[in-house]
Symmetry: C2
Subunit: 408 residues, 2 copies
């Protein structure tokens, strides 16, 4: 089998952990697999480099940031190759430009356009283990690019897609995808498999186990992903195409995002162009707005509420206050005292009554819902932050996700 | 003017020093020069990376070492470019493979074959400052290579040669080339200029100011080199083609190397093949032998002495003891208690009596000469280590190199 394995920063955090990764890679090779390994920078290294650049200037040149940051993965691939060779295996490392992993020229957040598979295949034919630097690529003009945070997952999926790999294994510090955060509910259990669409919703709702872009890429190219831990040998979670099993349950997982904030403009003149002016001003400052709700207008006056990353609250309040008068708004209020609790499941498409059940569960716990947003396979409610854990546990139980004592 | 500036590891040792380098580069650019900067890794970085690899295995894969080590310069070029851009200058960094600096495939000690000048020239035309990673290149197959210790000097010279630069300025932590080590003789003075040939002898005799290969390269391509300090604005030393001035003095400089050792085999059978067997055995273990002296044979028995790097003494003694019987030698003795004191000067070709004057000076100080080696423009004597400083000072004075109180 042709296997692509990806190891994140914690998995290659020091020489001992790199040796651990090397043993896992070697074991897969010894089983007769052709193995391609994609690695991230050693944990902490990317932050160390960013901090150095930020000491020079607040907004360093993005082209040069990519030159700087890409050294992190380059160190990892070299150390892993040295380790494997010292164990008697034939290994060969590749930077993004050497494959090449061709991207567009959006420095610091480039998108992969093409992965050339010829060197990799030729090395695999020679019995070599191939090691590829994650997170990085090269544009058409030969400039180094990086894919943005979590980009190594995308690198692994793109390499797996190009090679038509039989498996793409994402090793991380958790051993799979859980029905909810085990730190919030001790009754969370690991999913055997999950559909791309569900994983995508989970990733965008704040589950950090997989990068959103990587899941999109895997879905588009139908790359079978497995999420596993590099620290144990438990079965992981398979992320794959939707199948009939998956629709049996109405809800697959419950997620919770505590890192959002909410801004409400009240007494807004309800006339064309108001929303456009407001959200253009925010977009210009790179604030990514998530949920937007506009109440029904009464006497030409309405309220607009929206959520945004907690970290952008102060900046955004400034912006909104500046445009408030142009919008004819009376008042602006902001708070980060909110949580977004969501349920996700392909089954929601065929099971009726999922939404009303969610609202009932929350109401029964005395939790007020401040905002609601839906998609075909997810339902999110913004509530007061202090009820977040209570809401997650209640929903997890109500939708039958609590593990039975037997199921371990 | 087109100027190539090279800054070593100490000159870019931290962010403050990088800012200092950026100001110097910017000043040269502001004067109307087209500036190309070649930088080394930040001081200590290369050693840090080597130590990491050595913790994994004694002899790491050389290909992968080059992948690892080349990150050092890559960090430097990015940080310098970020600094220059933050100061409002347009700057662009290049790794070895981006230029490309094409080398052979001798990992860890590659030789430069060609420097492509087109990207550099096109950037300079656009008013950009070009920053090139020293020490690294890429072979014909796209593998990363490094040039070995001190390789950044060679990178700078090769870039200067390709661009036919008007000047190649080597910035370091000393402000030029001295008549002898100022730590040994307070009367040493800085040379205004020195011939390539003399500089080459000095470099191979242990003066660390310039890398030997870089000087060879500069000589071959007639690149005018200047050695200056990055920490002050003193005039440096110009390394250039021989001119008439240079031959006026018989001796230009006195050097001293304390890092050598000597091995003597006595009672060796004087028959063909003995020296060959001895030095082949050493060469196989990568011991670089410097001076070799074989005494006149008496009754078919002779002595052989040779010098070698102090660090290789123990290893070499083992080798020599192993081949001793094959050589029919009676005894083997090794010592690192030696110093090699040398005088260098183009003028030695035309001034007679330089050698006898050197021997007389040493004899007058009661210093015994253990070995002698000569070239057209240098004369080296191996003496007991404890007399090294005395010998240097005496020779420096005897050949008229002491600075007068006025000359500062």
């Amino acid at each position: 089998m042709l296997v692509v394995q990806k190891y994140g920063g914690t998995s290659v955090g020091d020489l001992e952990r790199i040796a651990n990764v090397a043993r896992r890679v070697a074991a897969s090779h010894d089983e007769g697999n052709k193995v391609v390994v994609v690695v991230s920078a050693m944990a902490g290294e990317t932050d160390r480099l960013i901090n150095m650049a930020r000491k020079i200037v607040d907004r360093p040149s993005e082209r040069e940031m990519d030159v700087l940051l890409s050294t992190g993965e380059q160190v990892s691939i070299a150390l892993l190759a040295i380790t494997l060779e010292s164990m008697g295996y034939s290994a060969r490392s590749y930077c993004g430009w050497q494959i090449p992993v061709v991207t567009d020229s959006a420095f610091c957040s480039a998108r992969i356009e093409e992965v050339n598979k010829s060197s990799i295949l030729s090395d695999l034919e020679k019995g070599r283990i191939v090691i590829v630097a994650g997170f990085q690529g090269v544009d058409q003009d030969g400039n180094i690019t990086t894919l943005g945070r979590g980009g190594s997952d995308t690198s692994a999926v793109a390499v797996a897609a190009a090679l038509k790999a039989d498996r793409c294994e994402i090793y991380t510090d958790v051993d799979g995808v859980y029905t909810t955060d085990p730190n919030i509910s001790a009754r969370a259990h690991k999913l055997k498999k999950i559909a791309y669409e569900e994983m995508l919703e989970m990733a965008s709702l704040g589950a950090k186990v997989l990068n959103t872009r990587a899941v999109e890429f895997a879905m588009r190219h139908e790359v079978p992903l497995t999420v596993l831990s590099s620290f144990n040998f438990h079965d992981g979670t398979l992320v794959t195409k939707e199948d009939l099993d998956m629709e049996k349950e109405s809800v697959t997982a419950v997620t919770c995002n505590l890192k959002e904030a909410k801004i409400t403009l009240s007494g807004v003149q309800d006339r064309p162009g108001v929303a456009s002016r407001l959200f253009s001003a925010l977009a210009e400052s790179n604030v990514v707005v998530d949920m937007i709700i506009q109440n029904a207008s009464a006497q030409g006056i309405t309220d607009i509420s929206f959520t945004l990353p907690e970290a952008d609250l102060a900046k955004s309040m400034d912006i909104v206050r500046r445009v408030k008068d142009q919008l004819g708004a009376k008042d602006v209020a902001g708070t980060d005292d909110i949580a977004k609790v969501s349920i996700i499941g392909l089954g929601m498409r065929s099971h009726s009554g999922v939404a009303s059940k969610m609202f009932t569960v929350l109401a029964d716990e005395g939790i007020n819902i401040e905002m609601i947003s839906t998609s075909e396979i997810k339902l999110s409610c913004v509530i007061n932050k202090k009820y977040a854990e209570l809401a997650v546990r209640a929903l997890h139980e109500a939708f039958g996700l609590d593990k039975s004592p037997q199921s371990g």
